[in-house]
């Protein structure tokens, strides 16, 4: 031992520094390796526990769900057991929530009346057992996006405060992914004013976003947005018009055929254009192709050629 100490003492300062720093760094690296290894094991254990819970309870959960759908009175014992497990067993809660919302999603076709009735039964049951509270309790497990998605599917008005809190977070962070889930929450809860407000806010920024995102949200709105979209198409800015015309095209509504022709005339009589106006032109044409049986491309091409609007003629040719 004394030899080692003497040996160390005799080493030049630079080498001593080198050794100390190296050992310290290696120690840190070792801690990181141990941490990542232990975390990996912990995550694996969590996944396994969830799998075990799933195997154990999924059949009885599905029985309960079917009973709700059929309108049968549940076995009182199994109902009691489920309620106790919902309070005590975290993995049961996770499996229950996942299975429950999966069944709600199965009945999400808004045009099918039977779907609507079935979905309503499930949503009413979820409200009865305050399922939203359990979802909020598990926010750290699910994460913020999943929590918002789950709350939007469960459609409990009591969870509105949580969605509003996240709207504020979105406006501070401009995280579009978060903004999307907040909008989805408002859409499925049918909060038109809040939905419109946020929808316009994001649409007007429109730096990087997708038309499909807005159309998907409109489709998911629990209620009618036709009046609002009609207003947007007639009086809104270009971004609003582009979304609205696509919305009515998807609906197959021919209420705006003459309006579209007027818009085409207005657009093609301008002297200068921005890129978005070409996009709007394309969607007007697509709308007319789908919703106007009397639409004739050749007539429009002749008119554009006469007015010297060759760029629009080229666009029409590339579309066909």
């Amino acid at each position: 031992m004394s030899n080692i100490i003497l040996f160390w003492y005799d080493l030049p300062f630079l080498i001593k520094t080198f050794v100390i720093v190296t050992i310290f760094c290696l120690y840190i690296i070792l801690c990181i390796q141990i941490y990542s290894y232990l975390e990996t094991l912990k995550l694996k254990r969590q996944v396994k526990k969830e799998q075990v819970a799933r195997q154990k309870y999924v059949a009885s959960i599905n029985t309960l769900i079917n009973a709700i759908i059929e309108g049968e009175s549940c076995n009182q014992n199994s109902y009691q057991e489920m309620s106790e497990l919902l309070i005590k067993n975290k993995y049961f809660e996770i499996v229950f929530i996942k299975e429950f919302v999966k069944s709600i999603k199965k009945y999400s076709d808004p045009t099918n009346n039977m779907s609507y009735v079935t979905r309503k039964k499930l949503i009413d049951y979820a409200k009865e057992i305050n399922l939203y509270k359990i979802v909020l309790k598990l926010e750290n497990t699910f994460g913020i996006y999943n929590t918002l998605a789950l709350l939007s599917i469960i459609r409990d008005d009591n969870s509105l405060f949580f969605i509003e809190k996240n709207e504020e977070n979105f406006r501070n962070s401009k995280n579009l992914y978060l903004g999307y889930y907040v909008m989805l929450g408002y859409a499925r809860l049918g909060c038109l004013d809040k939905f419109k407000n946020l929808f316009d806010y994001i649409l007007n920024q429109r730096e990087i976003s997708s038309d499909e995102m807005y159309l998907g949200l409109l489709k998911n709105f629990e209620g009618s947005v036709i009046e609002w979209q009609s207003e947007s198409l007639v009086r809104g800015n270009l971004n609003h018009k582009i979304i609205a015309i696509q919305y009515f095209m998807q609906l197959g509504s021919n209420n705006f055929v003459s309006f579209s022709y007027d818009e085409l005339d207005r657009l093609t009589s301008k002297k200068e254009y921005v890129d978005t106006e070409y996009v709007y032109f394309v969607y007007l044409i697509r709308y007319l192709e789908k919703c106007d049986n009397n639409y004739k491309e050749e007539q429009l091409v002749d008119k554009l050629n006469k007015n010297g609007k060759y760029v629009f003629v080229s666009i029409l040719e590339s579309l066909s």
Binding site: I29, T40, K105, S318
Partner: protein, 468 residues
């Protein structure tokens, strides 16, 4: 100062340089671990478990420049068409191939000549013809053009693309089904994000059928295994650490996503360099700083892209020469930023690192060996010092590989084959003495023969995916 003092001085410089590198390795492992730990938490939240509303993603254009990729092109396009992403278009740019790349694509897919209108935002070589069709519900555009190099082909793709984001990738790459979702996510979450790099994994000995990865075997051959070690370290540790330092200077040309408007603003890819991927990212960095814009360039560790690496020394050498020449050109074009505080972390950290620890590292290391030899001949060889250095380098090399393996397991929650992992970790002990010296030799060779190689692409030979 006599020769003895000079030798001792340079001995100390070597220790100091090595110490800096070792401390830096430690710092990047810490930085990458912190980043990955936070990312892991997000990752468990992302990929929403219940809601399948895929409209929330932004449509992307996938640009695939192809030159003599006849062996793999059809598999590649099929694989792309099956990706789990709602809306994207594939733009395949045939850059004047001399083989049957174009013929294979035209015969396999149902394509017709197109009158697609586009804005020539970036000047490019002549386009001969554009074809359009559909594959698995996604638009496929095939452009046949005069040969102009990868940069020119990508610029053509940018001009033709209709979506706000584009992905530049190599024709021989195969993506994991959720790769695009993972790559787009940082752009959705932070609107300042202008570019995202993927995680490149090695596809040698990958079994692929109808564009889907069936299985992966551990490849044989030291060269490929050392490249696996290298890629793992780079993509799990080094590139991720640069995310933390906000000084990402490279996004792999094999798989990277960019905001189209920002790339057009800087003039697209430069056609007078063979390191177009790194050069563009440096230029984007500097441009955003000059315009005083807040921006982010990230590397996304779980957006997986599988690519072939050379398994023959000649191909490996050509590839590494090209990379090093590309590095020289990129640093040279933007040398004004080195140590320039105007360019913030990029100038004071990122570009300094790439200059002194990547560009000149081979020269410094070889110089170090020369000093050691002189010290030996002069009887000034400090065996204690070099023993410590030697042991430290081996231990560090081993630990970096082990850390990369642990972090990969942590991120993917997937156990890799124990024997394969042991093979990789044990071989990493010899990495500083075998593989690193091989790379040093190639880098110095590239620097000496810079003028000869500066415009040569030197393609590596592609193999079909299910080759043993």
């Amino acid at each position: 100062m006599n020769l003895q003092q000079i030798v001792i001085f340079f001995n100390n410089i070597i220790i100091f340089y090595t110490l800096i590198i070792l401390i830096f390795f430690c710092v990047i492992i810490i930085a990458s671990s912190i980043y990955l730990s936070n990312h892991k938490k997000e990752d468990r939240e992302f990929g929403v478990i219940i809601d399948d509303m895929s409209e929330k993603y932004i449509p992307v254009s996938i640009l695939v420049p192809a030159y003599n990729e006849g062996e793999v092109i059809v598999d590649s396009v099929l694989s792309l068409s099956k990706l789990q992403y709602e809306k994207f278009e594939i733009i395949l740019i045939n850059d004047g191939s001399s083989d049957d790349t174009l013929e294979r694509v035209l015969s396999y897919f149902d394509l017709k000549e197109s009158k697609r209108l586009f804005k020539k935002s970036i000047k490019t070589q002549e386009i001969k013809v554009i074809y359009e069709g559909e594959v698995n519900g996604h638009l496929l555009i095939v452009v046949d053009k005069v040969n102009g190099g990868k940069s020119d082909a990508l610029n053509v793709g940018i001009n033709l693309s209709r979506y706000p984001l584009f992905i530049a990738m190599d024709a021989d790459c195969v993506l994991k089904p959720d790769a695009i979702q993972k790559l787009v996510y940082p752009v959705l979450v932070d609107k300042r994000t202008i570019a995202v790099g993927g995680n490149i994994k090695i596809s040698n000995n990958l079994v692929i059928e109808n564009g889907e990865i069936i299985s992966q075997k551990v490849p044989k051959g030291f060269l490929v295994i050392y490249q696996i070690i290298e890629y793992m370290r780079v993509f799990m540790i080094s590139r991720v650490a640069w995310n933390q330092f906000r000084s990402n200077l490279i996004i792999s040309g094999a798989f990277g996503l960019f905001r189209k408007d920002r790339v057009i603003e800087v003039g697209g890819y430069r056609t007078d360099t063979i390191g177009e991927d790194m050069e563009l990212v440096i230029r984007l960095n500097l441009d955003q700083i000059e315009k005083k814009r807040e921006y982010r360039i990230e590397n996304q560790v779980d957006a997986y892209c599988f690519t072939q690496v050379p398994n023959k020394f000649k191909d490996f050498k050509n590839q590494r020469i090209r990379w090093h020449i590309g590095l020289i050109q990129s640093i040279n074009f933007h040398r004004k930023a080195i140590f320039n505080p105007k360019y913030d972390r990029v100038g004071l950290l990122g570009i300094v690192y790439y200059t002194f620890f990547e560009l000149f590292s081979a020269v410094i290391e070889v110089f170090g060996y020369v000093v050691i030899l002189i010290a030996l001949f002069m009887g000034l060889f400090n065996s204690t010092m070099y023993l410590f250095l030697f042991i430290s380098i081996i231990i560090y090399s081993f630990n970096i590989t082990l850390s990369a393996l642990f972090l990969e397991r942590y991120m993917t929650e997937r156990s890799s084959n124990f024997l394969s992992s042991m093979k990789i970790v044990l071989l990493s002990l010899f990495e500083p003495f075998i593989y690193r010296q091989l790379c040093n030799y190639i880098r110095i060779y590239a620097m000496i023969r810079y003028k000869y190689y500066k415009n040569r692409w030197n393609k590596i030979k592609r193999e079909k995916y299910n080759a043993d």
